[in-house]
Symmetry: C2
DNA sequence: GCTAGGGTTGGTCATTCGTCCAAGACGATC
DNA sequence: GATCGTCTTGGACGAATGACCAACCCTAGC
């Protein structure tokens, strides 16, 4: 049918399985994703799962990190594109309002945090990603003259994930409404004791 | 052996199953708790699970709300016991440092948020509990003259859960270090734009 | 003393699970 | 056009799952 080579089809199956996993982790939960459901969503035979991946856990791990990395990289890029990190945080909050807290993308992140507490390998990979973004935010806050950049970075990152958690329970919550408070927190002139 | 009446033993079995569920949800994840593992932890025969509870989901729901309610009530009581809500928030942050983010108690909460996005009944019950605490915090902040009490309450609650999420990834994180920032956020004199 | 009813037991039911594997299919290389 | 390596298929394996049930135990109340 299509002029695909043998190896190309293999790569595509890999990709389909990974994106299917990214969707299903959010929809069914980390432990709710089975090899057969995964294969069905990817429109692939169940046997292929263990041909392309060492185990189901390994597949879920890879799907998670491959979903998180570009997202966090985008945030870091946003941070580097504006002179004042407080502006980056504000546009980040606006971005967050496009998620409901019950969509697969949001839930994938939360599920990943939980799975990381039970999977040392995943914990290492995620820890590196998250720590790197937090370090970038700390750096930016420090450069803008913030008196306690590391603490502010921790708070901002905690607010983002915690807010999504709560928005899943109450969809009426709005992130952009919190922007003034966070600006206050991240602005060098506002966070003095 | 013991002078237990028939109904007393039934009540005890119920209680044992509920506390076992509270432990296991955090240890294995919401979907990782099975009737047999649950019964084993509670030192009870597997058949009793479906005698005392309508379904496994119903058991997990009840275990979750019964664990959350006293915890949130304690927070509300702490809030009511001091004149300045900023003081309550600070001692709350000190309390949080007693959790590692990987202990069953912390993880039970996070798992519950996730499960609530897939179980409308649980969502309703948890939503009520969380909304009530947030309302109490909003009220207290408002009474202390905070310019935007609701937003500050949302941020504080998000920070708490989000911080636990991140602490699971990086145990070195310290909550009490964030106290000055949150005091700034919750103090009526510090949060003016 | 006897009976009614809540509590308990041990087991069964059909499904689903993760993992594995022999056999076949396919495209690239010589 | 034969051969090689990669990819794919369909099925199998033992183990675990949620739910259910008839039979049994025990105590409270008559």
């Amino acid at each position: 049918m299509t002029g695909q080579t043998n190896a190309e089809r293999g790569r595509e199956v890999r990709a389909r399985l990974l994106t299917a996993a990214q969707e299903l982790i959010g929809e069914l939960g980390w432990n709710g994703v089975s090899t057969r459901i995964l294969a069905e969503r990817a429109e692939v035979r169940p046997g292929l799962v263990h041909y392309h991946f060492e185990s189901l856990q390994a597949l879920l791990r890879q799907a998670t990190t491959e979903a998180m990395r570009p997202m966090l990289d985008d945030m870091a890029a946003l941070l580097a594109s504006v002179p004042n990190p407080a502006d980056a945080v504000e546009s980040l909050m606006a971005e967050i309002d496009r998620y409901t807290g019950t969509d697969p993308a949001s839930l994938l992140f939360i599920e990943a945090y939980l799975a990381a507490t039970r999977d040392p390998i995943l914990r290492g990979q995620m820890g590196e990603l998250v720590t790197r973004l937090r370090a970038a935010l700390t750096e930016a806050l420090s450069a803008s003259g913030h008196p306690s950049p590391e603490e502010a970075a921790i708070v901002v990152m905690a607010v983002i994930d915690g807010f999504l958690l709560h928005k899943g329970l109450d969809p009426r919550l709005s992130a952009i409404r919190l922007a003034p408070m966070l600006r206050h927190l991240t602005d060098p002139n506002g966070a003095r004791s």
